[in-house]
Amino acid sequence: MKNVVGVLALQGDVSEHRVILERLGAATREVRLPKDLVEIDRLIIPGGESTTIGKLLVMYELLEPIKRLSKKGMPLWGTCAGAILMAKHVADGRPGQPTLALMDITARRNAFGRQLDSFVADIAVPAVGKKTLSVAFIRAPLFENPGKGVDVLATLPNGDIVAARQGNLLITSFHPEITGETAIHKYFLSL
């Protein structure tokens, strides 16, 4: 059993995820090329720009291998841009923006607006623990139309979906790694 967590390192807040994972005692590896996938048994797609990461996923032939591994059951977690890349449908994206399109849900890009509308909030994610988590929403997406088999893990007070899971797939529109919250990383390691 290798038990190594890969963090997709094409672009984005890779080191923030690695710091938390390592604090939890997990071994990590940055994934930039298909050969890096051989050495991992779960993968985080970090925050960043989904258009940039999507393009590089295609150019460096990572898109199909990651899809294959996740269909075989490899746990995959996308934060913010990563979640956009994992959703089957993207609203308000760039036309033709390449994505992994794995999870039966729609991600609406920049759903809150521009950077001036970014925020930090305390949210409850009962599946990962009782304590509320202080997390950052940075030009964040929202999730809509969850399909059958998708569990909603967290919502905002108005009911907007900000975290969901479908089997081995986990998405959060926010960043627990920016505020140093470890509960969701712990949960992801248990998938």
């Binding site: 925050g47 960043g48 001036l116 905002l156 505020t179």
Partner: protein
């Protein structure tokens, strides 16, 4: 289910966006067309401005904030973050940029400074700021004023990476020196840098800046971008280097790839092939002091 009111425009929120840009390339664009080319090439953000630095250099005169109309058109044309430049100390230009809703303001030495003594009090703004530096003192003074992201100044519009290299080494060297100091030495260094002791102490303890650190000013090739990444910055700004070259779309994409794969010489070699002519470079050594943008706003 939220327990308390969400907080906007805190340091975490402001510096958080810069964290999302890491490992990426921020490109200067002067038209909607450029902005689309940049987004298609994989830019993580664009810097909307009227003239790229090499044209500002050539044409002279006073360089100001761009027309808000142009910035708004670019904001509409792309889905990635849009940054725009305000003159050093020109807090009204910054107010205008905040009013139209840009994602980041660059208080930039590339424009003609509006205040020779003061920078903008960036804590007063909800929008985050990035500022240039040549050394640790400049970086920490800007952070103390509220900057949520730092970049080296390099020497903009020259296509010559030498100043960015010098300044980046200076920042890292001075951080290392600070982290080897005892408390009374840190106090003295903080006084010399004109920053609070607590900020100097934090940098000494953590061995790095408290905000994301990019490189700018003179990056013209994929190799230049990878060089800055290997030296240790977290991403790059490319100004004149892309749209003043022979084949902007191809060069832009190559610089994006080289920034991601900065430690992979095979990939950098491959993307460096057949890019056409880079922008014409300037020798910084023969440049009179008055023409150097990096010595503005220290």
């Amino acid at each position: 289910m939220a327990e308390k009111k969400p907080s906007k425009s805190t340091f975490t929120v402001k510096s958080g966006l810069a964290r999302m840009l890491k490992g990426g390339v921020i490109m200067d664009v002067v038209t909607v067309e450029h902005a689309k080319i940049a987004e298609d090439a994989g830019a993580v953000a664009v810097m909307a401005l009227e003239r790229v630095p090499s044209d500002i250099r050539k044409q002279g005169g006073v360089a100001r904030m761009s027309d808000p109309k142009l910035i708004k058109q670019i904001m509409k044309a792309v889905t990635i973050p849009v940054m725009a430049k305000a003159r050093i100390g020109h807090f009204v230009e910054a107010q205008i940029l905040e009013a139209i809703g840009v994602d980041y303001i660059d208080e930039s030495e590339v424009l003609t400074p509006a205040d020779e003594e003061h920078h903008i009090s960036k804590h007063n703004f909800n929008v985050p700021f990035v500022c240039g530096c040549r050394n640790l003192g400049e970086a920490l003074r800007r952070i103390n004023e509220g900057a949520a992201m730092i970049r080296t100044k390099g020497e903009a519009g020259t296509g010559n990476v030498v100043e960015a290299v010098r300044q980046t080494h200076a920042v890292f060297r001075e951080i290392k020196q600070l982290s080897e100091m005892n408390d009374s030495q840190i106090k003295k260094a903080a006084k010399e840098m004109r920053i609070p002791y607590e900020l100097a102490k934090q940098v000494a303890r953590e061995g790095k800046l408290p905000v994301v650190n990019f490189s700018a000013g003179g990056i013209a090739t994929p190799a230049d971008a990878a060089l800055m990444m290997q030296i240790g910055v977290e991403g790059v700004f490319v100004g004149s280097g892309i749209f003043k070259s022979q084949n902007p779309a191809k060069r832009a994409k190559a610089i994006v790839e080289a920034t991601t794969h900065f430690n992979n010489p095979d990939i950098i070699a491959k993307v460096s092939e057949g890019l056409g002519e880079p922008m014409t470079g300037l020798d910084v050594r023969s440049m009179p002091e008055a023409e150097r943008m990096a010595s503005r706003g220290i």
